[in-house]
């Protein structure tokens, strides 16, 4: 192991993530893992990392770290203002930090989540077969100011590798995502079912557990109690206020609110990368 980075400012909801912790949902442990799988996988490909390498996931910016050794990295995910010391840096292309350099992520423009991926990944302990952090149950390493992140001793790539812009995801102001019908779809009024797939909802905020949306209300035909059942990353729950919540990577394993639908897994990265006040349109898939 070699020391990579010392955290100067940890940023928002910064955590270590891999592709998730599977096999423990029946005992209430969420899957966790990266929110934007596409940016994560592409980032690992750029560096020739193994597919499930551990990365640093950061929301919105406000992040700064000092390099403790020479190492190669890539930043993927949202567009943003990145700097090495005070020199601007570009995403989706590998770059090297030299010992003593300061890496800064100031803010995001399109999209909201960044992946800082070292070549070979971050070295951290595997807990229940995953290296993803789930801070709520104190699983995994928390990223706090002053913490040192370690990596693996590797031959460093000499060439700059990157992903051509046409292959990079676009994070739009309005996104369309495909959804499956949920188990309680028919409990909603015909007007609400129609609104779900024909109106636009605005993202009002959220975190790794869930994203909150606001729009025309989704109402049940009758207010009846729902018996709790399994939920997942992408589940669209509707609490009594009629505003949908999309459960995200740290989704609780079961929920008691009516489930109107589930976002298609290949479209989840679009949801994950929404910025506050961006909009979403759900497109119901025919089966």
């Amino acid at each position: 192991m070699k020391p990579l980075l010392k955290i100067i400012r940890q940023g928002v909801y910064t955590s270590l993530q891999d592709s998730g912790r599977f096999g423990y949902r029946a005992i209430g442990i969420p899957v966790s893992g990266v929110m934007d799988r596409y940016s994560f996988e592409m980032g690992n490909k750029i560096l020739n990392n193994a597919p499930n390498t551990v990365c640093l996931e950061i929301f919105n910016g406000g992040f700064e770290a000092e390099a403790l050794s020479d190492h190669t990295y890539v930043i993927t995910g949202a567009d943003g203002d990145f700097f090495i010391n005070d020199v601007q840096l570009y995403g989706w292309k590998s770059f090297s930090l030299c010992k003593g350099d300061r890496l800064k992520i100031k803010g995001s423009h399109n999209g909201s989540i960044f992946y800082v991926i070292p070549q070979g990944g971050v070295a951290t302990e595997s807990i229940l077969q995953s290296r993803s952090t789930y801070p709520f149950a104190r699983i995994g390493e928390e990223i706090t100011q002053g913490r040192t992140l370690y990596g693996h001793e590797l031959e460093q790539t000499q060439f700059v590798r990157g992903l051509m812009p046409i292959h990079r995801p676009r994070f739009d102001y309005i996104v369309q995502v495909r959804i499956f019908k949920g188990p309680h779809f028919d409990h909603f009024t015909p007007a609400s079912r129609d609104r779900l797939s024909h109106s636009t909802f605005q993202y009002t905020g959220g975190n790794r557990m869930g994203y909150f949306f606001k729009g025309e209300k989704l109402n049940l035909i009758e207010n009846r109690e729902i018996i709790s059942e399994a939920t997942q990353f992408g589940t669209i729950q509707v609490p009594p206020n009629g505003n949908p919540i999309v459960l995200m990577a740290d989704a609780q394993t079961v929920g008691g609110y009516p489930i109107i639908g589930t976002v298609h897994e290949d479209d989840l990265f679009k949801v994950a990368q929404l910025r506050t006040f961006n909009k979403i349109q759900f497109r119901l898939m025919e089966d």
Partner: protein, 234 residues
């Protein structure tokens, strides 16, 4: 006598998620059906399965990839499975005995529960410890058991304002359910005691004390006993 359980309804709720649902209710019958069906579904999908989450009346299967589903075929396999299952020892689910200290130091809402139920402290403890509870599902928090079968005399609505922090291992009543908080967390249940047992510990091979399909029997212990067990388990 063998009673066959009907095949549940099936729907894809996501690209690779299959939801099986029995009649929508919380019942002993569903508890047994879900347990049995959960084992069946593991057997059927074997290597194509990531995991399942059994619920009160549902079994949700997370698969590695979408597979064509032949309902008629599954139905007949389900019948065969039940015939073979009937003599199986796994029908008798494990009973986990859990000590609970109902001392006032831990029972933050005992007075509220007494007032609401019009029962004495002794009556509440005696009713709460009298019958084993079925672990219908685990969720909300890692290792949090949703226990069914709470005596209706102990049904007490949740707190109007949830507490910001409830200590790990606190035992509570929330409406018609009773349960134990596995980790420190916010919560709105009426707290009536605490167990010296740890319900969740990531360092253990089985991180949770309980699993869906278990039964839980509470027994009352004094504060001295609580402290003794607590020390031993450290």
């Amino acid at each position: 006598m063998l009673q066959m359980i009907d095949f549940p309804s099936v729907m894809w709720t996501s690209e690779r998620t299959l939801r099986f649902a029995f009649h929508q209710e919380i019942s002993q019958q569903n508890f047994l059906a879900v347990n049995q069906f959960n084992q069946f579904i593991h057997k059927i999908f074997r290597n194509n399965m990531i995991e399942t989450v059994p619920g009160y009346f549902t079994v949700t299967a997370f698969l590695k990839k979408r597979l064509p589903i032949d309902i008629a075929q599954l139905e007949s396999e389900w019948r065969e499975f039940q015939l073979a299952f009937n003599d199986d020892i796994s029908l008798i689910s494990r009973v986990v005995r859990i000590p609970v200290c109902y001392d006032e130091e831990f029972a933050l809402d005992m007075e509220r529960v007494m007032e609401f139920t019009k029962l004495s402290y002794e009556e509440i403890v005696s009713i709460h410890t009298s019958t084993p509870y079925a672990v219908h599902l685990i969720g909300f928090l890692p290792g949090f058991p949703y226990l069914g079968g709470l005596d209706p005399r102990l049904h007490v609505p949740r707190l109007q304002t949830p507490r910001k922090q409830i200590e790990a291992s606190s035992v509570g009543i929330g409406g018609y359910q009773t349960g134990i908080y596995p980790i420190e967390s916010p919560g709105g249940w009426n707290i009536i005691g605490r167990t010296p047992y740890k319900l969740f510990d990531v360092t253990r091979e089985n991180p949770t004390l309980l699993q869906t399909g278990n039964r839980v029997a509470f027994y009352s212990i004094t504060k001295q006993e609580f402290n003794k067990i607590n020390q031993e388990s450290v």
